[in-house]
């Protein structure tokens, strides 16, 4: 669903209906962008925070980039700042069919079991936020380093450095996990 033309301008003018239209048009995409960026138990809260921030700062959107690009930037920055302990356990989940996000990756041969999925998600959250953001955006969402640099307000070299260390960190964590060691040639 796409928002109607002029909805951003109306939102900038403070039209509550326009805010609802923006949410209706973009909430699923933003939720996908937040996947693996934040723990699944915090996805609802962070999604709300993203759109609150969008509504509060939409006057700063000048139209130099596509609105979706600006929205994505807001989402990532809100996700990076998210610091909370989840107190709710009422998140209802829907398993999506994995999208092919990185053309360079091999086709999925094995979908992780629920236990392994949970362990990998926990390992991702153990990686420092800025490194995790680059790892998720590049390796899971298939975004190139230049776009990541623009989104995060940094340079390509920093992105590549963070990606390098994020990958090494994830590998070290996973190799130390008995449930995941077989992926690295260890004894399960």
């Amino acid at each position: 669903m796409r928002a109607g033309t002029g909805v951003v301008e109306r939102a900038q003018a403070g039209d509550p209906a326009a805010f609802r239209e923006l949410y209706d048009a973009h909430h699923r995409q933003v939720a996908r962008q937040l996947t693996f960026m934040v723990p699944r138990a915090e996805l609802e809260d962070v999604l709300q925070d993203v759109f609150i921030e969008v509504f509060r700062s939409i006057s700063r959107f000048q139209g130099k980039s596509a609105f979706t690009t600006w929205l994505y930037r807001v989402a990532i920055h809100v996700a990076l700042k998210a610091r909370r302990t989840h107190t709710r356990a009422r998140l209802e989940l829907v398993d999506d069919v994995p999208e092919v996000v990185d053309p360079a990756m091999q086709p999925v041969e094995v979908t992780l079991s629920a236990e392994r999925q949970a362990r990998v998600e926990a390992l991702l959250q153990a990686v420092a936020p800025k490194k995790r953001a680059v790892l998720v955006m590049h390796d899971l969402q298939g975004i190139d380093a230049h776009t990541i640099a623009e989104t995060l307000g940094t340079n390509v070299l920093t992105v590549r450095t963070r990606l390098f260390y994020a990958r090494r960190e994830l590998e070290a964590l996973a190799k130390a996990d008995p449930a995941l060691a077989e992926f690295f040639g260890g004894v399960p």
Binding site: R20, V94, P98, M105, V108, Q117
Partner: protein, 155 residues
């Protein structure tokens, strides 16, 4: 020996044929390629998660309410902290005022009156003890009565 670049390692994790010669000679890079392959398999096996329709509607309802109310600042940690700081400041001001009031209400300190001097009767006197009288210094003897302002001297 130089090692494969990060980009070359990733490429080798997908298809090692382009780095066969180096990998045959470099155990460290072979391990790095194995690790990269394992990491890629783990990430590729992940199933993305998202909210249910109920969850999305819940967020939408909260946002609609906020938008209708003119997007009052959310009660998040910065605002809670500001409120707590304000409350703490108010408590501090109140505590100082109470302390000042308490100080003003304290009763004045009174000085105890000196006990009146009681005459002393000398029980025993050393050989060099003396007392001063109107006529000058003289020996202080047992039985003498020492009254107020009487000077005595003894070692």
């Amino acid at each position: 020996m130089s090692h494969l670049t990060p980009e070359a390692l990733e490429a080798a994790a997908i298809d090692p044929s382009g780095a066969d010669a180096h990998l045959a000679a470099c155990a460290a890079c072979r391990q790095s390629v194995r690790d990269a392959r394992g990491r890629r398999a783990l990430l590729a096996g992940l199933t993305p998660y998202t909210l249910s329709d109920v969850g999305f509607r819940r967020v939408g309802a909260k946002l609609a309410e906020a938008a209708d109310e003119g997007l009052a600042p959310p009660l998040r940690w910065p605002w809670v902290a500001a409120g707590l700081a304000l409350a703490a400041a108010a408590v501090l001001v109140l505590a100082v005022q109470v302390d000042v009031a308490d100080s003003a209400a304290q009763p004045p300190v009174t000085v105890a009156e000196a006990a009146p001097f009681q005459p002393l009767t000398v029980v025993q006197s050393s050989g060099d003890a003396q007392r001063k009288s109107a006529t000058g210094w003289g020996p202080l003897q047992a039985g003498d009565v020492v009254r107020e302002a009487t000077a005595i001297s003894a070692t």
